[in-house]
């Protein structure tokens, strides 16, 4: 099938690309544009490893065809750090050992970062509900919840 030309804004940079209609957003990001932060896990909308933001909302990028998103603004995990410095959320994941193998981390960070934009004094239970769409097979989630909670209460880690 003929390829279609689309424009995607990724982390503020505009990209024009040619994709087959059946190309998933995650595939376009990883294989066409080199944004390999979003991981391909289950490919069935369960694991959340491919989570990115589309026009401000956290979305599983295995559940959208790239052609649907012509003109959309995409944010990936690569856009979280500024000037090579980890964002407070990322630094808290590091400080609290919120990752082991790291495969779920890009998606986990994008879901948590989006959640933190509106969260007001959530309970740990509410934080767990917020990340229910992201599976982690290593940490048992405790350290991830710690990291998200600490980002809310103290921002970046206070001392190392």
């Amino acid at each position: 099938m003929s390829k279609q030309e689309i424009t995607l804004s990724v982390n503020g940079a505009t990209h024009e690309l040619h994709v087959e209609p059946r190309t998933l957003l995650v595939t376009a990001l990883r294989e066409e544009l080199g944004y390999t932060g979003a991981n391909v896990g289950c490919e069935t909308a369960r694991c959340g490893a491919c989570t990115v933001r589309v026009n401000g909302d956290a979305i599983k990028s295995c559940m959208q065809f790239a052609v649907q998103l012509d003109g959309a603004e995409i944010e990936t995990v690569e856009g979280l750090a500024e000037d090579g410095n980890l964002a407070p959320l990322q630094a808290q994941f590091q400080a609290h050992h919120g990752l082991q193998c790291g495969f779920c981390t890009p998606g986990m960070l994008m879901t948590a970062d989006t959640y933190l934009k509106d969260a007001e004094n959530p309970s740990r239970e509410e934080i767990r509900e917020a990340i229910e769409g992201n599976l982690c097979r290593c940490t048992g989630y405790h350290n991830i919840v710690d990291a998200i909670e600490a980002t809310l209460t103290e921002g970046a880690p206070t001392n190392e």
């Binding site: 059946r22 559940m63 065809f65 052609v67 917020a130 769409g133």
Partner: protein
């Protein structure tokens, strides 16, 4: 795990979308893509042409009408769940929308796509059935309305025609009503093993149930109303014995359940009774011990 190849069109009006469906054999409309895309990936569906309706203006809103609420087909589950209008006038729908998948899925999926997809496991059908809702559709012969009771045929089939687009979901609103949705979630899939939507209307004093609708979804062959439960409620007093009598009717014949080695019909009927009791306790505001 690529989907089959297909031709892609992005419609900018309902009329254009209908025209594209008519002129392309086997074409399917696509809204949030969260129903159709996974089935295309597994090969369960392979439409040669997809008509993306996301570019159509005016299909993404929640408005009060004379009859109740009109919800545009492209409105996402997340938007419905956090809508004060829906929470106030159609709580069952707000609760059911919040029960769908997870936040990423709720940001992606839409109510129109969800209902038109006809997945018997979906959460929203039980709420829309309980609320007495209907869908507005537009096809080559114009626009019409399909009552939720006529909509779901099971096995991903619905009353929506091949060349029709769901444009809105209409939810009637009336006084002295309460509604909710209760779900027992399959921990693996996130879909309901059993979900129960309940709506009741009482007299002004809140003592007698004048009207009731109860609907189930989940492991059933299709989402459906539970008329025996409704009949046990209608005309009865708002008390615990009414709930007990209604819950005693909350059972579905074995052939109306899908075969599931992990959840027998007897087990699902047990869940159905428990969830129906929970839903009725909530809408009739009766304390449980």
């Amino acid at each position: 795990m690529y989907a089959n190849d297909f031709e892609y069109y992005r419609a900018t009006s309902v009329a254009e979308a209908v025209e594209l469906l008519v002129s392309n054999e086997g074409a399917e409309p696509m809204a949030g893509s969260h129903g159709l895309l996974p089935r295309m990936r597994t090969g369960e569906e392979a439409p040669p042409v997809l008509v993306d309706i996301n570019g159509i203006d005016g299909l993404r809103s929640i408005e009060e009408t004379e009859a109740g609420l009109s919800i545009g087909a492209l409105t996402t589950h997340a938007e419905i769940a956090r809508s004060e209008l829906v929470q106030t006038h159609a709580p069952a729908l707000a609760v059911a929308a919040q029960a769908v998948g997870d936040i990423q899925v709720r940001n992606g999926g839409s109510i129109g796509g969800n209902l038109a997809h006809g997945d018997p496991r979906a959460d929203l059908p039980a709420a829309v059935l309980a609320l007495g809702g209907s869908v507005s559709v537009t096809g080559p012969d114009g626009s019409s309305s399909i009552d939720a009771t006529e909509l779901f045929h099971g096995d991903f089939k619905t009353e929506v025609g091949d060349h029709e687009i769901v444009t809105a979901v209409e939810i009637p609103v009336a006084a002295n009503t309460a509604s909710t949705y209760v779900k027992y979630r399959n921990p693996l899939s996130g879909y309901p093993l059993i979900g129960v939507g309940t709506w009741v209307q009482t007299d002004d004093g809140g003592e007698t149930i004048e009207a009731a609708r109860v609907a189930a979804t989940g492991n059933l062959v299709r989402s459906m109303r539970l008329e025996e439960v409704e009949n046990a409620l209608i005309g009865s007093a708002v008390d615990k014995s009414t709930i007990d009598a209604a819950v005693a009717e909350a059972a579905v014949d074995e052939e109306l359940y899908r075969q599931d080695p992990q959840a027998s019909a007897a087990y699902c009927n047990h869940l159905l009774a428990v969830r129906t009791a929970e839903a009725l306790d909530t809408v009739l505001a009766i304390e449980t011990n």
